[in-house]
């Protein structure tokens, strides 16, 4: 078990890390957009948009991520739409995690105290002002911890993009395995790299949360922000 040859692979591995981070960040942005769109729609009074959003959420939560990835990659081109593998990855991750995120958005908005809603009505704010100025700023810090969990889960799912021909970290490790052997070593290294990435993402989300809370007048110490906290999977089920 020597790791000497790994030096020669440093560039490839770094490029792989970059692809992994790039896919994760891009998909996270897509997922946030999807989460807000679905999460706000599913709260609407009108039954048509509400039902459509509910169906979309349940479909993307209830079918497996890998199935969605393969569907977009293999089946959709046969229907006449084809996308680049990166786009397939970002769209699949964005929709899947966006559907989970929609429940987070909905839950956080519902958790804002009723008096705040009544206050906005008493002040005669428009529905837009109500959301933008009063409700969302208070719901936002509540969303960050569950979003953080979803982000880690997403990072942990990115090795799947390797199956749609992208050369992420896992794909590079697989090439290394094929040409150098040493399988246990390279995948052991990979476990550590993913662990470090997960920790970095966790701290980034904690910083974001501390900032959001500070704006509401709740300060946290640097120690609280940097303390290790493992991810906790969401209420992960469909439905």
């Amino acid at each position: 078990m020597s790791g000497l040859e790994i030096g020669a692979w440093a560039d490839e591995l770094l490029a792989g890390v970059w692809v992994t981070v790039y896919i994760t960040v891009l998909s996270a942005c897509a997922a946030v957009v999807v989460a807000f769109a679905l999460g706000l729609t599913v709260r609407m009074q009108h039954i048509v948009p509400r039902t459509i959003a509910r169906v979309v959420i349940e479909v993307f939560r209830g079918t497996s991520l890998l199935v969605q990835l393969f569907w977009l990659f293999y089946a959709l081109p046969l229907l006449g739409y084809s996308m680049r593998p990166v786009t397939v990855g970002v769209v699949a991750f964005g929709l899947n995690f966006g559907a989970y995120g929609a429940e987070v958005v909905r839950g956080a908005i519902n958790a804002v105290p009723k008096a705040q809603w009544e206050g906005t009505i008493a002040l005669n704010l428009s529905p837009y002002q109500r959301m933008r100025r009063v409700i969302l700023p208070q719901a936002y810090p509540l969303m960050i911890p569950p979003f953080g969990n979803l982000l880690i889960q997403m990072l942990k799912s990115t090795p799947l993009v390797f199956l749609i021909t992208l050369t992420d970290l896992t794909a590079v490790a697989d090439q290394y395995r094929a040409s150098e052997g040493n399988e246990g070593f390279i995948f052991g290294v990979l476990l550590v790299v993913y662990f470090v990435l997960a920790y970095v993402f966790t701290v980034a989300m904690r910083l974001l949360e501390a900032r959001a809370k500070a704006r509401l007048g709740q300060r946290e110490s640097a120690r609280e922000v940097l303390a290790y906290r493992g991810p906790m999977e969401q209420e992960a089920a469909g439905g």
Binding site: L65, F70, F195
Partner: protein, 218 residues
């Protein structure tokens, strides 16, 4: 290309068979392993054995933060190096089982913490043995409280069984893509695989939500 119902009905039986023989089997075996091992982790973390407790905590945190696919590869390639050649199915069950045991241990922990302090004190005042106390007082209450959360994890694990694709276990998605590749018609098999997932996971999660409500009111 449009949806061909005859073809869809043709490919349905092999996909269903892969679902029953692999996807469902893996889910059941791995959740049993996770339920047992997770309980062990939770109790070890709670009773504070010197060395063993910090090691378990570190292990749980590490496993929870690293991807299942990499864990699959790691075991798939490392076990033979150590002289153990095991079928992919076994590696898959162990990986998913251990990964979810780490999640389960957190859930059990919440359940154990939720058992009122008076219950522990009553055990002490009745001078029950620790074993009796855990087995007959603490765990029955703790597990009952977290049953819905555990159920949600089973569904989530169920949807991650396609990861076994990576180590060549012929589970449902593997089968669907193989059929798609053979006939170059991916639309029907992959859609069917998705619908089967939805048909199994949606009713289960509705059932769990009902159970949750009943337990709260009981």
């Amino acid at each position: 290309m449009t949806w061909d119902m005859d073809y869809a009905l043709d490919v349905l039986p092999p996909i269903l068979e892969a679902f029953l023989r692999y996807t469902l089997l893996v889910t059941v075996l791995a959740s049993v392993l996770a339920a047992v091992l997770g309980l062990v982790f939770a109790v070890v973390r709670r009773v504070r054995v010197p060395v063993l407790t910090p090691l378990t905590t570190a292990f749980v945190e590490f496993v929870r933060s690293t991807p299942i696919p990499i864990q699959l590869f790691f075991l798939f390639y490392v076990l033979p190096e150590a002289g153990l050649t095991l079928p992919g199915l076994f590696v898959g069950v162990v990986t998913l089982g251990v990964h979810y045991a780490c999640y389960y241990s957190e859930v059990y922990r919440a359940g154990i913490d939720g058992v009122p302090k008076g219950q522990w004190e009553a055990c002490t005042s009745l001078s029950m043995s620790p074993r009796y106390q855990w087995q007959h007082v603490v765990l029955p209450q703790a597990v009952r409280n977290v049953l819905p959360a555990l159920g949600n994890y089973v569904i989530s694990m169920f949807k991650e069984t396609p990861f076994l694709f990576l180590i060549a276990v012929p589970e449902m998605v593997q089968e669907a893509v193989a059929i798609g590749g053979r006939d170059f018609r991916y639309l029907e098999p992959v859609t069917i695989a998705g619908l089967i997932f939805l048909a199994a996971s949606y009713p289960s999660s509705v059932a769990i939500r009902r159970l949750e409500k009943r337990l709260v009111h009981a």
